[in-house]
Every structure is written in structure tokens, then in C-alpha cells.
Symmetry: C2
Subunit: 237 residues, 2 copies
């Protein structure tokens, strides 16, 4: 049976990290909300004995796995996108969890006061939070990813080991999202992270990823998702 | 060799979730920063080929595992605090990752504009974020934990299965932290989550946990940690 991905239909959001893994592997999968509607996502959360706190989650027969990084931890070996051994597999997961932390912070830039208010009702606070994100947090996260590549004993081509993992695909998504949301800042910063940028580029050229990015299955970045382009939150510094 | 826990010495913080597991299991462990100083934490991050992004992290011989939930995922089976089978083990991990999300939000209540500014420089914004946390987020997280207990096919005594896991210990820590930080709000809310409260109580009475909580190894909650008691952020609603 096909894997099922449950995530809200109008945005890439956190679901995109799972979608990229499924697409890269050429997996048979159903993007449930885009076929059956968002109600199907809520319904499964209501009835499961292992209820996900929030989408995205996946279903594989009778196994349901929520939390983006945990879903990828589950799918990784099954899709050929994770190392075989426990130790590098857990390291891949740690990288993914750190990427998830960056995603949370990228979201909080436009919602510092919480998700219950519109961005328009917290613009001033967002501008203040964005300063720190651009000047401190973004370089810290990108610098960490660069150091992970530099310190990979097998060389800087992959985050872990000598083959593509779901973490590499997620790194591509991070770079794409940050470039969409903070084009000025990323232009100013990118030169400092050559290995990160090169890996993102290589991922974008992978056959299945390149085909996916050109397809209608790839939702465009927009100002409903996690990475949002608000020019007033961007800047070269 | 003993496990080593690396975390900043003056606070419970995220390190406490790992410490509770080590303490409950009666494991031989070194609390590195409290013995060798915080510099030992930074030093290992600088030199590792699998560098943690931030503490806490653990070292087990030559394995280093960062990200709180991943460290517990690694330690759980070794300490007898995780299920044997893959599926419930991954479910335990999902519960822990959701607890980690709550911890992040509990932190952001007093730092909505980012970690670079003191609380005193973002008090007004904190008060606004705290409203949503108290009225929406806290009930949502506690309600989810209550439903996890209610839906456990083995009964509501444990979050997963029929034995104590590290997630149960973490639930205790969440309840303790929330009661410290938001005493008025927790008093108003607690009646709605009887299974959560009963589990927290049972954990506090476990022999090794009870001894630990009375020991000097248990750092007191304080206003440098994640759960902070600022009366102006609390309230019955």
C-alpha cells in the first residue's frame, strides 16, 4: 500500500520535508489533504490511539508517525535515504532535529507573539525579532551546517557519510526557503557557507527532485507558510 | 564507563529531562559541567565530528548524542526506560518531541523577541505572548497528553504501554515546571487533566526520583531557566 502524507493542503510548511523524501525516492504516496481535503487530516488525529499533536504525519498501513523529524526517521531507511547503522542514523536524525529548530525560529520571526494573531497584528514585534534572526540565528544555524559538512570524515559532499540522506534534502529546502523569505540577507551571507550552498544545488539537480520542483505537486512558497517573504523583515544585515 | 551529561551548570533547563532518566535508572553518570565547569561543554562542541548544535548532549564512550529527545531515544533502551519494539519506541519518541515543543513555547513566553535580549527588555511582549500561552497553548498541550493517556490501549497509567518510559519522567518535569512558572493558571486548569496529574504524582514517588528530588543534585527552579516564575505572566485565565 502507498504511504500516506497528512498535511494542510495550501502550504509547503513542515510537510515539505517529508514530501521531498517521498519524491526523491520515487515512492508511491498519497498526499491525503490535496486529494481528500484538509478534513481528512483532522479526522485521523481525532481517532488515532497514537494521535499526532499536529501535522505533518504519515501513515504506513496501520503505523502513524507524527513529528516531521520522527516521520523522516521512520521513512529514511525504508526509502533508502538513511544510513544502515544505528550511529550514523541517529546522527542524521540529530541534524534533522536541528533543522527543525531552525524552521521553528524562521516561523517565529513573523509570529513572535504567537500563532493566534495575524502577522499584521504583530509587525513591529516581528521586525525586532527579525533583526536577531538575521544577524545572530541565521549565521549560527548555517555555520553549524557548514561545520557538519566540513567535519564529515567522508568529505563535505553529504551531511552524513557518503550518500544522500533525507537531511540533505531538508538542507536544500532550508536554503530555498531562506532565499525566498530573506533574499537580501541570504545574498549577503551565502559566500560564507560554500559547502551548504553547493549541497543545496546538487540536491536541486537530482533527477526526481528536479522533476518534482517543476511539477504542479510543488506548492509555491507563499505568505501562509513557514518561510514568508515580507520585505520589511529582510535586509542585508 | 559512566555516561556523561553535558549541560550548563546553573539551570535545570533541557538537561533535566536527560538527568531524570539517568537518575531514575540509577545510572552511573558524570554531570560534566557541574564537575569540570561549563567550559568543558563548549570544548566538546568545538572538537566533535558530530557537533551538537547546543547542549544538552550526552557522551557514551565515543558516541555523542545531542538534541534532548534524541539523547533520550538513545538512552531509553539502555536504561530500561523505553519499549523494546520499534513501533512503541518511536511513539515514545514522538511524545517526547511534542513535550520538547511545549518546552520551546514555555521558553518563548519570556523571550518572544529572541534570546539576545533580557526578559526585562521584552516584558510587554512577553505579557502578550503569555496570554495566548495560558489560554490556548497550555490547554492544548495538556489536553493532548491527557488524550494520549486516555487512548493508551493498556490503560492510562503510563503514556506508552505498561511500564515507565522516559516520556513519563518528562511529563512529571513539565508539570513541575508549569506549576512553578504558572501557579495560578495551573491551579485553575489542573482538574481537567486528572490522568496527567496522577502520572506526575506517581513519578515523583518513584524511589530514585523521590531521592533525587530531595538531593543537592536537583537544581531549584529559577529565573534563568526555561520555566520561569514571573507573577506578571501568570493568571487564572
Amino acid at each position: 500500500m502507498a504511504y500516506e502524507l497528512f498535511y494542510w493542503s495550501p502550504i509547503q510548511g513542515r510537510g515539505e520535508f517529508v514530501r521531498l523524501a517521498l519524491e526523491d525516492a520515487g515512492a508511491d504516496y498519497r498526499d491525503v489533504a490535496r486529494i481528500d481535503g484538509d478534513g481528512a487530516v483532522s479526522a485521523l488525529m481525532e481517532e488515532s490511539s497514537t494521535p499526532p499533536f499536529a501535522p505533518p504525519f504519515i501513515r504506513d498501513e496501520d503505523v502513524i508517525v507524527g513529528q516531521t523529524a520522527a516521520a523522516l526517521f521512520y521513512l529514511g531507511p525504508r526509502l533508502g535515504l538513511a544510513p544502515d547503522d544505528e550511529r550514523p542514523r541517529l546522527w542524521t536524525h540529530q541534524v534533522q532535529l536541528t533543522i527543525a529548530d531552525l524552521v521553528d525560529e524562521a516561523h517565529d520571526v513573523h509570529h513572535p507573539l504567537g500563532i493566534g494573531r495575524y502577522y499584521e497584528d504583530q509587525k513591529d514585534e516581528s521586525a525586532r525579532r527579525a533583526e536577531e534572526f538575521r544577524s545572530e540565528r541565521l549565521p549560527k544555524f548555517l555555520g553549524w551546517m557548514e561545520s557538519v559538512l566540513e567535519r564529515n570524515p567522508s568529505g563535505p559532499e553529504y551531511l552524513v557519510g557518503t550518500t544522500t540522506t533525507y537531511a540533505d534534502l531538508s538542507l536544500f529546502q532550508i536554503v530555498a526557503g531562506l532565499r525566498y523569505a530573506f533574499p537580501e540577507r541570504m545574498t549577503a551571507l551565502e559566500g560564507a557557507y560554500p559547502n551548504v550552498l553547493a549541497l543545496a544545488q546538487r540536491v536541486s539537480e537530482r533527477e526526481n527532485i528536479a522533476a518534482y520542483l517543476k511539477s504542479e505537486r510543488r506548492i509555491a512558497f507563499n505568505t501562509m507558510g513557514i518561510f514568508r517573504h515580507y520585505p520589511e523583515l529582510d535586509g542585508s544585515r
